[in-house]
């Protein structure tokens, strides 16, 4: 972020993406240094999920360049730096992604979910992959569930397994796409705790989130996405407490208002 910082792990320039006539990303520039935790907030439809999905090209951008970990890509289809299918696979193998709907594979056990990619993408032996997976499952407190079907797990447990599955690839960068949005409120905490501990260990993370307290307490930077551009960014204390733009103020107010009205409704029920 600062001038004297080493070359960023991820450098994006002029990322653009349209769905038909609708321009969702209107030229995003972003540098992410190693070890940074960047939270992306914004109203739905502001392009934040699309942006995250363009980074590992699950949904490739139409235009823009990306430097990741010393490799250059150009998402313009005419460019000679446009990534081949093989290059995209190699890129994705080094970027972990966790989804809102967990997306664990129901036909595999918890352990098989975690070892599948290390064995078949990285070429690890079953023994090696199982050892790494065992340690990860132990860490998330689900080692005893290793032979269960993921569908027998709670949402929070499934999401932790999904994080372990991504970590088993030893990624250089982790993308979290609203990973707690589908969870029951009481299960959100266990997932956020795991993410916070990853952040503390120095994992570089980019997350789209509605958890303002997590964005405030854990991230090093907050981006406010507004209609396809970064409307405002900076330290969490600045962006969340002292927003400059009226639109960010309005956004934060609406979230705060939601919280308050929910609390009010709950209070009303109790009385």
């Amino acid at each position: 972020m600062t001038e004297e910082a080493p070359a960023p792990l991820l450098k994006l320039r002029n990322i653009r993406k349209s769905f038909g006539d609708l321009e969702v990303l209107k030229g995003i520039d972003l540098d992410v240094a190693k070890g940074e935790v960047v939270s992306i907030i914004g109203a739905s439809g502001s392009g934040k999920s699309t942006f995250l999905r363009s980074i590992n090209a699950i949904e490739p951008a139409d235009k823009g360049t990306m430097d990741f970990d010393g490799q250059q890509f150009d998402f313009d289809r005419d460019s000679r730096y446009y990534p081949s299918a093989r290059q995209l696979q190699a890129l994705r193998a080094r970027i972990g992604m966790v989804f809102q709907s967990y997306n664990l594979w129901p036909h595999k056990t918890v352990l098989e979910n975690v070892i599948h990619a290390p064995m078949n993408v990285l070429g690890q032996s079953r023994a090696e992959a199982t050892e790494v997976a065992g340690a990860l499952l132990d860490r998330i407190g689900l080692y005893d569930k290793k032979d269960s079907s993921p569908q027998r797990l709670s949402g929070g447990q499934q999401q932790r397994v999904a994080i372990a599955r991504a970590l088993a690839m030893k990624p250089r960068l982790m993308l979290f796409d609203e990973v707690t949005s589908a969870l029951d409120p009481e299960l959100v905490h266990e997932v956020l705790m795991l993410m916070a501990s990853l952040a503390k260990e120095g994992m570089t993370m980019l997350l789209v989130t509605h958890e303002m307290s997590f964005a405030r307490d854990v991230s090093s930077r907050v981006l406010f996405f507004d209609r396809g551009v970064i409307g405002e960014q900076g330290a969490p204390s600045k962006v969340l407490r002292d927003p400059e733009s009226p639109r960010l103020r309005q956004f934060l107010h609406s979230i705060l208002h939601d919280d308050l009205s929910q609390a009010g409704a709950a209070k009303g029920l109790i009385q």
């Binding site: 590992n56 699950i58 299918a85 696979q89 190699a90 994705r92 193998a93 080094r94 970027i95 972990g96 992604m97 989804f99 709907s101 967990y102 997306n103 664990l104 594979w105 129901p106 036909h107 599948h116 990619a117 078949n120 993408v121 079907s149 569908q151 999904a162 599955r165 991504a166 690839m169």
Partner: protein, 218 residues
């Protein structure tokens, strides 16, 4: 009564071997129809327009014409183009092409039932499209479509009786031969029906076994 026991002794071995013919014709046809069905179902999702067009035409043509006509085209029609097949080869090929079109539609609906997130999480870990299809999507599709695939297999088994029209000595033609010699159509058609029933029951039980085994995995 002793007359029927005598019948079993006399005609039993012949029916057994005809039933055996039905069985292996069916199994061969089923396997081949899965190959055709999978190829066409994947072809429907191809990036190449001409591949999608071929797959669409295949399903449209086969589902829109009678199986009997398709069998005649392969067995009687193809020799005119210089391709002469034995009744057995022509029969299996025609039935497999026929059943494959229905299998295509079954697999297509199965593919549609798998959430997009399953593919995305696999791609995000660095798997290719092909590896994703093979290790993540198709195993789940197989489980979903098992009941419909079983139905289609039963149809295939029963459709082998159509091959009596192109001189394949399966159950139906064997019975017809006996009937023309004995003038006992009721007895022999009932016998044939019973044997088909035994074969379809075996097939259904086999499918039920696989369904239970899959259910345990989840």
């Amino acid at each position: 009564m002793s007359g029927y026991l005598n019948d079993i002794q006399v005609y039993g071995p012949g029916f057994l071997s005809a039933a055996w013919t039905v069985l292996w014709l069916t199994l061969l046809t089923i396997v081949l129809s899965w190959v055709f069905g999978l190829a066409a179902a994947l072809g429907q999702r191809s990036d190449l327009a001409w591949v999608r067009a071929i797959a669409a035409f295949y399903v449209w043509f086969i589902r829109g014409t009678p199986a009997l006509i398709q069998i005649f085209i392969v067995y009687f029609g193809m020799p005119q183009l210089g391709i002469r097949l034995s009744p057995y080869t022509a029969g299996v090929l025609a039935l497999a092409i026929n059943s494959g079109a229905y299998v295509t539609e079954i697999i297509r609906s199965g593919l549609q039932a798998i959430p997009k997130g399953q593919t995305e999480s696999s791609l995000a870990l660095g798997f290719s499209q092909r590896a994703t299809m093979r290790t993540i999507i198709l195993p789940q599709v197989a489980r979903i479509i098992l009941p419909s695939i079983t139905n289609e297999a039963l149809s295939t088994l029963k459709n082998t009786s159509l091959l009596s029209t192109i001189t394949v000595v399966e159950l139906t033609l064997y019975a017809q031969t006996l009937i023309s010699a004995t003038f006992r159509p009721f007895d022999f058609y009932i016998a044939v029906a019973i044997i088909y029933l035994v074969l379809t029951t075996i097939l259904t039980q086999l499918a039920a076994f696989f369904e239970r085994r899959y259910a345990r995995l989840y």
